[in-house]
């Protein structure tokens, strides 16, 4: 089923005193295709949860429409929308055991007992809870509770599946594991899903598309790759992954100057002209560092002030001080698996991969450079 959100607005506060009003969701437009998993991503207070709750029916929009397929559901009660939700706190009924928790919604539908049993068996197997049917919620681990919440939502065979930061209460390892499971499940069942989280790694790993929100507005919609490689602005760039911002000067068509180097770029942002100074967003893995040699004179130099071993990658923080800018840059190198690492205090050359330069249509804060 397709989900269509048209110009949705949600305001809180009194109607009489405009200064008191908070606009939680500010004219949001979104379409989610059949079987797609779209994530609403953003910092706290950006409106993603409010948006999700409006889809579920727990909040009423101030204006705008929500469409489930062809049907406008603004006035449909939350218990009649068939858009089941996995809650952040799991919201498992403490007085029912696992089986009854999951079967709760089914029982309300007055389906025949036989059918209920069949569906239950299937879904319990699907989420891996076989054998735990008669346990009480207090006897379950966090991960198991999460699965119960998941199963309860799935067994209803909903038109829409909603996730409200379902993994935020789990530890890191479990989170990683569960998000893959959730994604696999969703793909297998093909249910249109909307997922809310503030964890960008989570969003990146499971979404078909990500909707980045800030202050009630949509900032950018795109695939994880799009958002990572081509963020629309510095907010998205900084929110997703780590990024280095460097001032860049437009030389002419296809050429820009970053630091001391003049490079060819593959794409230019529209609406900019020669001699403009804009911001380049460079991911840590798009910077290369190396021992100083004779050729390195053509590149910028920097001094390593920090080295952090992260397992797969080594993260270096490099202090760069030259006539073009003064920054601390974050550089990631793949773990070479040899003791050949750069030392703290060492001066290295630093250059960026041309194909990785992504220019934003924003001017740098002048106090930062020089």
């Amino acid at each position: 089923m397709e989900l269509n959100i048209n110009n949705l607005v949600k305001e809180f506060g009194s109607f009489d005193d405009p200064s008191n009003r908070v606009v939680a969701v500010d004219h949001v437009n979104l379409s989610v295709g059949e079987g797609e998993l779209v994530t609403l991503l953003g910092p706290s207070g950006c409106g993603k949860t409010t948006l999700l709750r409006m889809i579920a029916g727990f909040e009423d929009p101030t204006s705008g429409d929500v469409f489930f397929g062809e049907e406008r559901v603004n006035n449909v009660a939350p218990n009649q929308r068939n858009a089941t939700m996995v809650f952040q706190s799991y919201a498992i009924f403490p007085h029912l055991n696992v089986y009854e928790n999951i079967a709760f919604g089914l029982r309300l539908k007055k389906i025949k007992e036989k059918e209920i049993e069949e569906k239950m068996e299937q879904v319990i197997d699907l989420v891996g809870l076989t054998g735990l049917e008669s346990r009480q919620p207090s006897q379950l681990s966090g991960g198991q509770q999460q699965r119960v919440a998941l199963a309860r939502a799935i067994v209803m065979e909903p038109a829409l599946l909603l996730f409200d930061e379902p993994l935020s209460n789990l530890d890191a390892k479990l989170r990683e594991q569960m998000r893959i499971e959730i994604r696999n499940l969703q793909k297998r069942l093909g249910i249109t899903s909307v997922y809310v989280t503030h964890d960008q790694a989570e969003a990146m790993s499971i979404s078909d598309r990500i909707v980045v929100m800030n202050k009630g507005r949509i900032v950018q919609i795109g695939t994880p790759f799009d958002l990572y490689a081509r963020p629309a602005n510095s907010f998205v760039a900084a929110f997703i992954g780590k990024v280095n911002f460097m001032p860049v000067r437009i030389k002419d068509k296809g050429c820009v100057q970053i630091g001391g180097a003049t490079l060819q770029v593959t794409e230019m942002p529209s609406g900019c002209s020669v001699d403009d100074t804009l911001i380049a967003a460079l991911r840590p893995e798009s910077l290369i560092i190396g021992h100083i040699t004779e050729e390195s004179n053509i590149y910028d130099r920097g001094r390593i002030i920090r080295r952090t071993f992260l397992g797969t990658i080594i993260e270096y923080e490099i202090e760069v001080h030259n006539e073009y800018f003064s920054e601390n840059l974050i550089v990631h190198t793949v773990n070479p698996m040899t003791p050949d690492l750069f030392e703290i205090g060492e001066t290295v050359f630093i250059r960026c991969k041309e194909e990785a330069i992504h220019i934003l249509c924003e001017t740098p804060d002048l106090s930062n450079s020089r």
Binding site: A56, P78, N79, T84, A91, F93, H95, R152
Partner: protein, 564 residues
């Protein structure tokens, strides 16, 4: 303007769930009929003359006749004194129980609660037997001649006995919810025990203390049984004076006016307690009892505190022992031979009354409990216009003295179409709506602790409002439901001030019966009935705790119900 708009929207939302809308309507209607209408009747009556014409003469009499003004003064005096002393005792007791490792905690706790479930007269009865002119203690032990316990002393003593436990329960809840790691933190940076207490524990418990004071104050103002026996003509008090004006001087309008005067300090205290103090709660929301640190109390202090608590407990034991023994004494003060005749009399002649009382209590208790849970659910989880008003009206009865309610019911229901006087219905209805506030309050408290996402989840899975309430909310608020049941039952069994107006030839109540026996000088029978009553109440608590799948222990329920 905006209120109307919001009201319209909320009504529209409510309409989506017709069964819920019906429930809201039903609740509103019953509250208007059985809470507001009687009160308004009293108010109107107070502005009438004996002939039924509009007149201010009642209030005029109140302001000009010093005796009546003294009644107000005395009631306020006793209320304040009881509040102060009660809170003092209650705080020490609560502090000792929560912050020290006192032995036999459970037993002490039970003893402390006994006064709450005993009928109002019994403490006066015991006091007379022990501290009267011929009292066991005043004459027998201390050798005082012609010591008069009547008046301020007697009333104060009986009320402290009855209401200090109320303060104890409230304060115990407060102290239990105060995170003891705060005290640990203070001592960790160098504060001495006394400093920690004065600078951390006490200030944090202040809102709770103020709250407890006001609750005791309100209860003291409304207390009817004890003043009736121990105050005497020289020490008039408002609650009894209102009753006496009606029954002694046969002046219904004046009694109504006095009832209104009694209402004012009550409602003021109530308003302060709810709307001002509620905002300054320093206790954790979850209210889960945290393990207490006993490092705050030094050895010496512990001994002092514990002896104090034990002393009060012995006090309670003394009172109850006196009554129990008194029930078996042939003629107290004259012939101390043991006899079973009082009990036999009570069980044979009084069987009707016992049965009547049980019927009324058994009918009103579950209805009161369920209705209380329902209203709590509507107030906390649903939105509709007038919600605040419904909440306020439903707990209004808690601030209203029983006398006022009793008068109101007689005035309101003595003509068609609601002709209920003399029936079982009027008694049951009176009890249902009189004691519903506790159910509502504890329901609200428990509901607020439940993750609202749980009910949203139920809705999300297809349950409408009523189904959600039935299958999810109700089972989860079992502790509150249970405490509401216990409270309603206990109060129904021990109520006197409103009940005394509503008994009839066909339906009599135990408390009224006891009053009659006391008035007729049959102390032994009165004591016997009292013992029977307390036994019934204790049994009921045990039974109810079994029925509601023991989610909260028997005595715990009373303490939840007393925390307001």
């Amino acid at each position: 303007m905006s209120y109307l708009r919001r009201a319209k929207r909320e009504l529209r939302l409510l309409w989506r769930d017709p069964l819920l809308a019906l429930l809201v309507g039903g609740v509103a209607l019953s509250l208007i009929l059985f809470v507001l209408y009687p009160l308004i009747s009293v108010l109107i009556k107070s502005f009438q003359s004996q002939e039924g014409l509009y007149s201010l003469q009642n209030y005029h009499r109140f302001f000009t006749f010093r005796y009546l003004r003294n009644a107000l003064k005395n009631s306020l005096l006793v209320g304040t004194a009881t509040g102060c002393v009660g809170v003092f005792i209650g705080y020490i007791a609560a502090f000792t129980v929560t912050r020290t490792t006192i032995p036999a905690k459970k037993f002490l706790h039970v003893l402390f609660i006994l006064p709450i479930i005993s009928p109002p007269f019994t403490s006066s009865l015991a006091i007379l037997m022990l501290f009267g002119a011929n009292g066991l203690i005043t004459k027998g032990v201390l050798g005082l001649k012609n010591f008069s316990i009547y008046g301020f002393k007697g009333v104060l003593l009986s009320q402290i006995f009855t209401f200090a436990p109320v303060a104890y329960l409230t304060l115990r809840g407060v102290l239990e919810s105060l995170n003891p790691t705060l005290e640990d933190a203070a001592m960790n940076v160098g504060a001495s025990r006394m400093q920690t207490f004065w600078k951390v524990t006490l200030p944090l418990s202040l809102p709770g203390i103020a709250s407890a004071f006001l609750v005791v104050f309100i209860e003291s103002l409304a207390d009817f049984g004890n003043p009736l026996v121990l105050a005497g003509s020289r020490f008039p008090m408002l609650s009894t004076q209102a009753y006496l004006e009606i029954t002694g001087s046969f002046n219904l309008p004046l009694g109504a006016a006095l009832a209104v005067v009694l209402l004012l300090p009550s409602i003021t205290a109530f308003a302060i307690q709810r709307y001002y103090l509620e905002k300054r709660q320093y206790t954790t929301i979850t209210g889960k009892p945290v393990a207490s640190s006993s490092k705050l109390v030094s050895r010496g202090a512990r001994k002092v505190l514990q002896s104090f608590v034990v002393a009060f407990a012995l006090f309670v034991l003394l009172f109850y022992g006196t009554i129990f023994v008194g029930a078996m004494i042939n003629v107290w003060g004259y012939d101390f031979s043991l006899t079973a005749k009082h009990f036999l009399y009570a069980l044979s002649v009084g069987f009707e009354t016992i049965k009547d009382t049980l019927i009324v209590a058994l009918l009103s208790t579950p209805i009161s409990g369920l209705l209380g849970m329902l209203i709590a659910f509507l107030v906390v989880r649903q939105r509709f216009p007038g919600k605040g008003t419904i909440e306020f009206v439903s707990i209004l009865n808690f601030a209203v003295p029983g006398t006022v309610v009793g008068i109101g019911y007689i005035l309101a229901f003595n003509k068609p179409p609601l002709l209920l006087i003399g029936t079982l219905a009027i008694l049951v209805l009176n009890f249902i709506f009189r004691y519903i506030p506790v159910g509502i309050q504890s329901g609200i408290a428990v509901l607020r602790q439940i993750d609202p996402a749980i009910e949203e989840a139920a809705q999300n899975l297809g349950a409408d409002g009523v189904t959600t309430f039935r299958k999810i909310t109700l089972p989860l608020i079992a502790p509150a439901f249970f405490s509401a049941l216990v409270f309603a039952f206990v109060r129904a069994m021990t109520a006197i001030s409103s009940a005394i107006f509503l008994v009839s030839a066909r339906w009599n109540l135990l408390t009224v019966q006891i009053l009659n026996e006391v008035g007729s000088g049959r102390l032994g029978v009165a004591a016997a009935f009292s013992v029977i009553l307390v036994v019934i109440v204790l049994c009921a608590i045990v039974i109810i705790s079994r029925l509601v799948s023991g989610r909260a222990g028997g005595m715990k329920a009373i303490e939840i119900s007393k925390e307001l």
